[in-house]
């Protein structure tokens, strides 16, 4: 059985397992419990009172984190004509219609795919490749749009997409350990606010059951979610 290392155990001792922390306390603690030699990502995980097997209880959406995620996101824009220039100007890493063939050949070195609606017909056949990896562009996530400039800029500025998994949890990165506590707090607040706004009308009982933040290698720190109930 996997066991925790001594550095993790030392970090976990700083966290009271049965206690919930306020956002500012939790952010200070996540910074204090990060011990890895790299700049760890801070992740937020939220347990929701929804049944994702029902299509009307799927929680999905996007949020532009005010201070970004601290990670460089590689954006591919599938567009033709003037939209290619727009994508280039907006800072997309890859752009052009020729990438459809590259994806067919197995190339997938990008994190987000933005497509203009006129190319969705050609993308349909790639659903089996892109869909299971969560890379299929979708109007709901703002990745099927004619406004390529805005889409690319938002993604580059720290727009993240979230989606409830089959067990009713949502996970998302909200920054890096190197961020200031204020920046992490504001990002977390923006994420939780968006989750609350995305509450499906069909959800029954307590919607936000619990929320936890953690650094990549560090222990989980439970948040006090009383304010969101």
């Amino acid at each position: 059985m996997a066991t925790n290392g001594k550095r993790f155990r030392a970090a976990a001792e700083k966290v009271e397992r049965n206690r919930t922390y306020s956002v500012d306390e939790a952010v200070d603690l996540v910074k204090a419990t990060a011990f890895a030699k790299f700049d760890e990502t801070v992740d937020a995980s939220v347990r929701l009172g929804v049944d994702p097997r029902h299509a009307d209880q799927v929680v999905r959406g996007t949020v532009v984190l005010p201070h970004g995620t601290g990670k460089k996101v590689r954006v591919l824009v599938l567009a033709q004509g003037d939209k290619v220039k727009e994508a280039e100007a907006a800072g997309a890493d890859f752009f052009g219609v020729e990438y459809i063939q590259k994806i067919k050949d197995g190339w997938l070195d990008f994190d987000v795919l933005v497509a203009t609606p006129d190319l969705m017909g050609q993308l349909g056949a790639l659903g089996r490749v892109l869909g299971p990896r969560g890379l299929m562009p979708n109007p709901k996530a703002g990745t099927v749009t004619m406004d390529v400039t805005r889409a690319v800029q938002e993604i580059k500025a720290g727009k993240i997409e979230f989606r409830v998994d089959k067990t009713g949890n949502v996970h998302a990165p909200i920054g890096r350990v190197s961020f200031s506590p204020e920046h992490l707090q504001e990002n977390l607040q923006a994420f939780l606010d968006t989750i609350m706004k995305a509450k499906p009308s069909a959800a029954k009982g307590t919607y936000l059951r619990s929320a936890t933040i953690s650094s990549t290698m560090g222990p989980g720190i439970r948040l006090d979610t009383a304010a969101y109930r």
Partner: protein, 643 residues
């Protein structure tokens, strides 16, 4: 998480109680096997789980959103046209949505800049639902299942359902629930009509599946490999057991034994008490005897372990001994229309052999039997039965059972001299009692028809039995009875079956149909299985070795680039070292020249002690410098040689 729970469930059909006091709970991820006699109520349990049938009493609880995939014994394909469509039946909604999304995408392509928000919202909504229905994964899942069941997925997309053979239809019917998105998989006799390789694949596939599985089966080896719980349906109730099939058999025997012991013990106590009451009721201890009588009247009576109703009793006898050579084929070829099924079959069955004839579906096992028995002419070579051999053929499709006749008449026609009691007695041994013998053969279930066929075959008193899939419709108890009967049989048996437990128990020899010919393995089925396992392991080891060689070749193919760059780097390094050495050599040569000049100075040889000492020191330094020069020259020439 509980997937389905039965609490005190009873099912009545009119005055007949089919099931009562049924209680068990199936948790998520568990694998249950349902066993019991034909007509005991196993399929009724499935109907209760799916909600097709409501219990007369008690409750069946299942989560509201539970997705159930059902394989029933009858294979329906709905409106599916191709094999692939039939296998993907569980994804019909996703398939419709896929087409709709493609149309919407085409429309958006046409509109270009003029696409409005409503179009995009609809597309987004549908795309979401498509992903939710497993739309992005179902193609690969259906392909994998079809591949496992022996179909070519690409071919299946164009192959019409009508072109399928019986066995293939069975496999396509199995593909649909296996590929469907479900939380609970209900499989009713999934191994019927499957060949050994496909059963092995199915066992492995069910092992990797995360869903909860409930399977009705009479295949003991399959159940042992697949399930972790057994539900035994018998005597109008269902009893749950923890563990695989073998564990169930042991537990059932133990349970029956302890029931019998408790019953016997109670009977002894009751007899003792009754004796006491009888002796003392009118005497001095009358009050005590009356008290005991009251207590005895209140005592709840235990019942003995219920025996199985309608059990079959089978005895296979031969009329005459027959020759030692039972079936002989020499250079025989078997052909159907233009297709050659088998060539160069040279084989002979000896008296007393129990030969297992195995091979994939559609390879020609039944055609081979017909040729060996002389019902078909061989395409080449010869086939003949030995002297005094009388064969009897139990056909897979039960075609030997006459249609629309009463069971009584069927037997009476074979033995016209028998009176009513004898016919009834014979049929009673096969589980048909009382008025049941007047039932028409068309109203019989598969299992009942199989029992009639066996009742007919025992009358033939043949010394060669040809049994083509005899276990297909029989329940476990009947299979075990058939096993015992074959074991005691003095004739020869040609056995076609995909029931591994049955073959392991009986077969003394294996005829395996592979690559268009017959391979005669002169050993029991268990040994043949071991040989096959070893062969499979060797094949996979060979495949792994080939893959490793391929990877190594790929690595080697990449290596020259790395070696080239390394060579260049080494070359640069060597050149740098040579340059440094050349500078050293030049410096050392200069120093030597300088030292030699100093050594020629007349002051060193003026006869003074200081001059002699200086000359000696210069001489030493010259020698050392010369040595260093030699070493540097030698290193330089080595480097020059390497480059």
């Amino acid at each position: 998480m509980t997937v389905v729970s039965f609490a005190d469930v009873a099912v009545d059909f009119g005055d007949t109680t089919l099931l009562r006091n049924v209680g068990f709970t199936v948790a998520a991820g568990e694998r249950w096997g349902v066993v019991g006699r034909n007509g005991a109520g196993k399929t009724t349990l499935f109907r209760l789980i799916t909600g097709d049938l409501a219990p007369t009493r008690g409750t069946v609880v299942r989560p509201a959103a539970l997705r159930i995939a059902l394989l029933d014994q009858l294979r329906h394909f709905g409106q599916a046209v191709t094999v692939w469509d039939a296998a993907a039946a569980g994804y019909r909604e996703a398939m419709v949505l896929e087409r709709d999304l493609a149309q919407q995408a085409d429309r958006m392509a046409e509109l270009g800049d003029r696409v409005d928000q409503t179009d995009l919202e609809r597309y987004g909504r549908d795309q979401e639902r498509f992903a939710h229905l497993g739309g992005y994964e179902f193609h690969s899942r259906v392909d994998a299942v079809l591949q496992g069941l022996g179909f070519n997925p690409a071919e299946a997309k164009t192959r019409p359902i009508e072109t399928l053979s019986g066995g293939e239809r069975g496999r396509v019917g199995l593909a649909a629930p296996l590929a469907a998105p479900a939380d609970l998989l209900l499989l009713d006799e999934p191994t019927n009509h499957l060949d050994l390789d496909t059963i092995r694949w199915l066992t492995e596939y069910l092992g990797t599946l995360g869903e909860t599985v409930i399977v009705i089966s009479h295949d003991r080896a399959f159940l042992d490999d697949t399930v972790d719980h057994v539900l035994h349906v018998a005597n109008a109730t269902a009893t749950p057991y923890r563990g695989g099939y073998s564990a169930f058999v042991t537990q059932r025997v133990e349970r029956e034994l302890s029931q019998q012991r408790a019953y016997d013990k109670q009977r002894t106590v009751i007899a003792k008490e009754e004796e006491y009451i009888r002796r003392h009721i009118a005497g001095q201890n009358s009050a005590q005897a009356k008290g005991r009588r009251t207590r005895l009247n209140r005592l709840p009576r235990l019942s003995p372990p219920a025996g199985e109703a309608g059990a079959m009793s089978l005895r296979l006898q031969i009329g005459e001994r027959g020759g030692d050579q039972v079936v002989v084929a020499e250079h025989m070829g078997v052909r159907v229309a233009d297709r050659a099924l088998l060539t160069e079959v040279s084989v002979a069955a000896r008296r007393g052999d129990i030969v297992a004839l195995i091979g994939p579906n559609g390879v020609g096992k039944t055609t081979l039997l017909a040729t060996l028995l002389g019902e078909r002419a061989p395409a080449e070579g010869s086939a003949r039965l030995g002297a005094s051999i009388t064969p009897a053929w139990y056909r897979q499709d039960l075609a030997g059972v006459p249609v629309d006749e009463s069971i009584f008449d069927v037997i009476h026609e074979l033995r016209p001299q028998w009176n009513r009691g004898q016919v009834q007695g014979h049929l009673g041994a096969f589980g048909f009692s009382g008025d049941e013998v007047q039932r028409s053969t068309t109203t019989l279930s598969g299992g009942e028809q199989a029992r009639v066929a066996l009742a007919m075959i025992t009358l033939a008193r043949a010394n060669l039995l040809v049994l083509d899939e005899p276990t297909n419709h029989l329940d476990v108890e009947s299979i075990e009875v058939l096993e015992d009967a074959i074991e005691e049989y003095e004739g020869t048996v040609l056995l076609v079956s995909h029931d591994r437990a049955f073959l392991r128990e009986l077969a003394t020899r294996v005829w395996s149909l592979e690559d268009g010919t017959l391979i005669d393995y002169q050993g029991p089925f268990v040994e043949w299985e071991q040989v096959q396992d070893e062969r499979r392991r060797a094949d996979s080891a060979r495949a792994a070795a080939t893959a490793e060689q391929q990877r190594e070749a790929n690595r080697k193919a990449k290596r020259p680039a790395r070696t080239e760059s390394r060579r260049k780097a080494d070359g640069r390094d060597a050149a740098r070292k040579r340059g440094a050495l050349e500078a050293d050599v030049a410096a050392l040569e200069n120093r030597i020249a300088d030292l030699e000049t100093q050594l020629t100075a007349p002051s060193l040889y003026d006869g003074s002690g200081k001059g002699a000492a200086d000359a000696a020191a210069l001489g030493r330094e010259l020698a050392e410098t010369q040595a260093r020069l030699d070493a540097a020259m030698s290193t330089w020439s080595e480097l020059a040689d390497e480059s």
